[in-house]
């Protein structure tokens, strides 16, 4: 067990866990921030995507001991982020979600894309979103919602 100081959504948070504990489980079980989802545990589905120092990162394989000072941003903070808000609004407007379980991760990947590429092409979208599985298969509407959000930014 070791104690870590984390910067999550702009707040200092302290946690004492085994150093191997993935950031995902620290968020979900230590901080009760369950918007970030467990889907595979091997960085293959993207349900656990958060931003670490602004980069879309799979939190399921990132040990808490390696996070360090880098700021962590999760789905719970997206409502206060202008790009996050635009993406969430577009998602609701386009009625994207079905079961919804993957959508936190989809939105975090989409926001990371739009922060770097304000007017993404279809190829940009496929590249950035290409590691997020939606088992319901809502990809057509995800693509439309990203374009809608991009138009407003």
């Amino acid at each position: 067990m070791a104690t870590y100081q984390l910067n999550v959504n702009g707040e200092r948070k302290e946690v004492t866990v085994d150093p191997s504990t993935p950031l995902l489980w620290v968020l979900r079980e230590e901080f009760n921030m369950t918007g970030t989802k467990y889907g595979c545990g091997i960085s293959a589905c993207g349900a656990c995507t958060v931003h670490v120092a602004g980069v879309a990162t799979r939190s399921c394989m990132l040990p808490v001991s390696l996070v360090g000072e880098r700021p962590v941003v999760t789905i719970e903070a997206m409502g206060k982020d202008p790009v996050g808000r635009a993406v969430q609004d577009a998602w609701v407007e386009k009625d994207v979600v079905q079961c919804g379980y993957c959508q936190s991760g989809q939105i975090m990947s989409a926001v990371a894309l739009l922060k770097h590429t304000r007017k993404p092409t279809d190829a940009n979208i496929e590249e950035s979103m290409g590691g997020n599985i939606c088992r319901c298969g809502t990809y057509v509407r995800i693509r439309e919602a990203i374009k809608t959000a991009a138009q407003r930014l």
Partner: protein, 734 residues
């Protein structure tokens, strides 16, 4: 049992035909099995059929003082949209203000059982089809109570009142909000019969209404079963046997118990007579670390070690013999009398498929010795509640059962043996008074069985001089899903209807049609996978029909139309609409692109699909899909559009290069999304336009029907590009 009512419009009741159709699906079998056993169903059964069941509106609708109208949804929501559509139906008849409607998933209780199945279950794409009438009547009865209360207050007749947006208006300008009338209305007598709206009077039904659950699913606030966090809750993970049904011979838990946070380690019974080792810890990660450190000796003696390559050999042999006969129309030997030059023999192979819903399977149980409380995203509350009660030595009614929102399911959350819930109950039994959340890791899910069965189809076709099929002999080999389950009584002539559906009821008019099936017993648990038998039957039928059309040098639309039965009106209308809507792009396909089409009817819904496909990086690239749907009255066209857009991506799971579960020496070879890979965005169509055939017939299913058509449509396009016929899935190479 169909509901009856003073339904004065032309929207028919759930018809006998639909009832029979439903009973020919996996879910329907449960109906027969459990309906007869259930005392309440027996009671209903003894009633004359003319006497309708009156559902108590107060179990479904609550009008709160602040004007909120809370509607109970008697089904699991796991993406399909009933959490919005059922409240729409009720709110429409009630004339409720939609902006004030809140939907809740109902717990397990008799009143929430499917009116046709007699159990609480999502299956057979029946949620809207079975509960459309029920929710309309509930809404109309709630409205009638409110109007009666207002009329009494104003000393007028109910007929003098009208309603709109949660307000009753009287003849002399009086008005009262539903919330003001609620307590008076609650004292009224529920009318036995009510008049329902004409379709032209619908305000919500038939409109593109957005989902009620979007917001909390986009900001991370919606709690799925896996997100549950109860006071003092523990997390459990189970080490499952590597071979189905194997048992723990011995285990060493010293290192596992040394992990900080691990609280207990013990053996429990698991599915198929096997045993496993449960690790209970404070949190997920220590439970996982504990499991990784367990040393277990397994005893797999006396357990069959299934091996897919050996199974294929066995299946191939079986397919050369006649199975149990499902359909024998005309002359079974006719095919042999047709000249070899006009005969075609085709063998198709379909692998085991895992469902892999995004939210891993989980169940939380708290057992205090006399009662239990359960939280689970269950497709099958009635069975899961009974199974948990059985393990804990309780009666089902002593198990309070909360239905949690679920992250997908596709059939995986409706298991006849409730094996996940039984594991959770076994753990809770030991951890008395402590709530325990059992989590199946993704590895448990991929390796854990309950797959779409592998199938082999062998088809011999004899063509007439006109190029149309004159004789068709079809043998299907595949495990039965329902044999040895409570659903088994739905077997007919030793045939599992879910194996042959889509072939036995083909909409094509083929003389001399013979279909038989073998159901080998294999030590691999199998289960319905979204659209069940249609996952493979539609692929076989629609690729063969396309091949026959090409061979006859007839346009694939014209060939299908010529072969469709005159009574296949629903499917024909879908095919016509698809042809019209895809006309513009079909005629101007870019170079190296090809068109593929398919049509299929399942769960009462006719679907036709056209795709524009090219080959990129040796994989199919689907630039566009046009889908036409004939599902009767479209309750929420927006949801239907979404289901059909996304359902195409789900259907493409079958074509993925790593889209198969295989076993070697009894052990599943895939572990996670690295070895068993579902479609990602680039694998799905870039765009899908969905068109709905206008209809005021009773609504039919939209959850499963999107799945069957896409794979054959894509493969038909590939055949045009490569000249090859693809009969073995997944598509490892093109």
């Amino acid at each position: 049992m169909p509901l009856t009512n003073t339904n004065t419009n032309d929207l028919t009741l759930i018809s006998r035909r639909n009832f029979l159709r439903a009973s020919a699906t996996a879910a329907g079998g449960l109906l027969l099995a459990l309906y007869l056993d259930s005392p309440s169903a027996a009671q209903e059964k003894s009633q004359p059929p003319s006497k309708p069941k009156v559902y108590p509106p107060d179990a479904f609708v609550e009008i709160r003082p602040d004007g909120k109208i809370v509607i109970q949804v008697n089904r699991l929501e796991f993406g399909q949209g009933v959490h919005t559509a059922l409240p729409m139906i009720l709110a429409d008849e009630m004339d409720a203000d939609w902006s004030q409607v809140v939907a809740e998933l109902a717990p397990a209780a008799d009143v929430y059982k499917d009116p046709l199945f007699g159990i609480q279950l999502v299956g057979g794409s029946g949620s809207i089809a079975h509960s459309f009438q029920q929710y309309r009547e509930l809404g109309a009865r709630a409205r009638a109570l409110l109007v009666a209360a207002a009329a009494a207050r104003w000393k007028v007749t109910p007929e003098q009142c009208r309603t709109e947006q949660s307000v009753v208006y009287g003849p002399s300008g009086q008005s009262a909000r539903y919330a003001e009338l609620a307590s008076e209305a609650a004292r009224g007598t529920v009318p036995a019969s009510v008049t329902l709206k004409n379709p032209s009077e619908f305000r919500l039904v038939g409109k593109r209404v957005k989902r009620l659950d979007s917001g909390p699913k986009c900001d991370g606030s919606l709690k799925f079963g896996l997100d549950l966090n109860l006071t003092n809750m523990k997390v459990a993970i189970v080490a499952h046997p590597p071979v189905f049904g194997a048992k723990v011979r011995s285990f060493d838990d010293k290192e596992a118990r040394a992990v900080e946070g691990v609280r207990d380690v013990f053996e429990i019974p698991v599915a198929r007579g096997g045993t496993g080792v449960a690790i209970v810890a404070d949190k997920f990660w220590p439970a996982k670390q504990g499991r990784d450190r367990l040393k277990i000796e397994w005893d797999s003696s006396g357990v069959e070690r299934a091996d897919t390559s050996q199974l294929w050999s066995k299946y191939r042999e079986l397919a050369r013999t006649r199975g149990n006969v499902a359909v024998a129309r005309g002359d079974a030997q006719a095919v042999e009398r047709i000249a070899a030059s006009r005969r075609l023999v085709a063998e198709y192979e379909f692998p085991y498929l895992a469902h892999t819903p995004m939210e891993p399977l989980n169940t939380t149980v708290r057992f205090d010795g006399e009662r239990a409380e359960v939280w689970v995203g269950s497709q099958f509350q009635t069975g899961d509640q009974a199974a948990i009660a059985e393990v804990l030595g309780l009666k089902p009614e002593q198990v309070t059962f909360h239905t949690e929102m679920a992250g997908g399911g596709f059939g995986r959350r409706a298991t006849p043996d409730s094996h996940v819930q039984r594991e959770a109950a076994e753990i809770a039994k030991r951890m008395r008074a402590v709530p325990v959340k059992l989590v199946w890791t993704r590895e448990d899910d991929v390796r854990g069985g309950y797959y779409r069965p592998m199938h082999l189809h062998r088809v011999e076709i004899g063509l007439g001089a006109d190029g149309m099929p004159a004789a068709w002999r079809h043998v299907i080999v595949g495990q039965s899903i329902i044999a040895d389950t409570p659903f088994a009584m739905m077997m007919k002539d030793n045939i599992d209807p879910t194996t042959v559906e889509g072939v036995n009821d083909t909409q094509y008019d083929i003389p001399n049609f013979h279909l038989s099936a073998h159901h080998p017993k294999v030590n691999v648990p199998v289960l319905w996978w979204r659209s069940v038998g249609h996952t493979h039957s539609a692929f076989v039928m629609e690729t063969l029909i396309d091949e026959l059309a090409a061979r006859a040098r007839v346009d694939p639309f014209a060939y299908r139309r010529r072969l469709l039965k005159p009574e296949a009106k629903k499917l024909r209308a879908a095919l016509d609409l698809m042809e019209a809507q895809s006309a513009s792009w079909r005629r101007s396909l870019p170079k190296n692109h090809a068109l593929g089409i398919a049509c299929h009817e399942s769960f009462g819904t006719g679907v036709a699909c056209a795709v524009d496909v090219s080959i990129e990086k040796k994989r199919p690239r689907i630039h566009r899909a046009t889908v036409a749907v004939n599902c009767g009255l479209a309750v929420n066209p927006l949801t239907i559009e979404s289901q059909f857009q996304a359902g195409t991506a789900f259907g493409l799971s079958q074509l993925m290069a790593k889209g198969a579960i295989t076993l070697r020496n009894g052990i599943v070879e895939q572990r996670n999304f690295d070895g068993y890979v579902p479609p990602y965005m680039p694998d799905a169509p870039v765009s899908v336009d969905v068109h709905i055939v206008p209809s005021t017939e009773a609504p039919s299913g939209c959850g499963e029907p999107p799945v069957p058509v896409i794979s054959p449509a894509v493969v038909n396009a590939l055949a045009r590009l490569t000249g090859k016929r693809y009969r073995s899935l997944p598509l490892v190479t093109l």
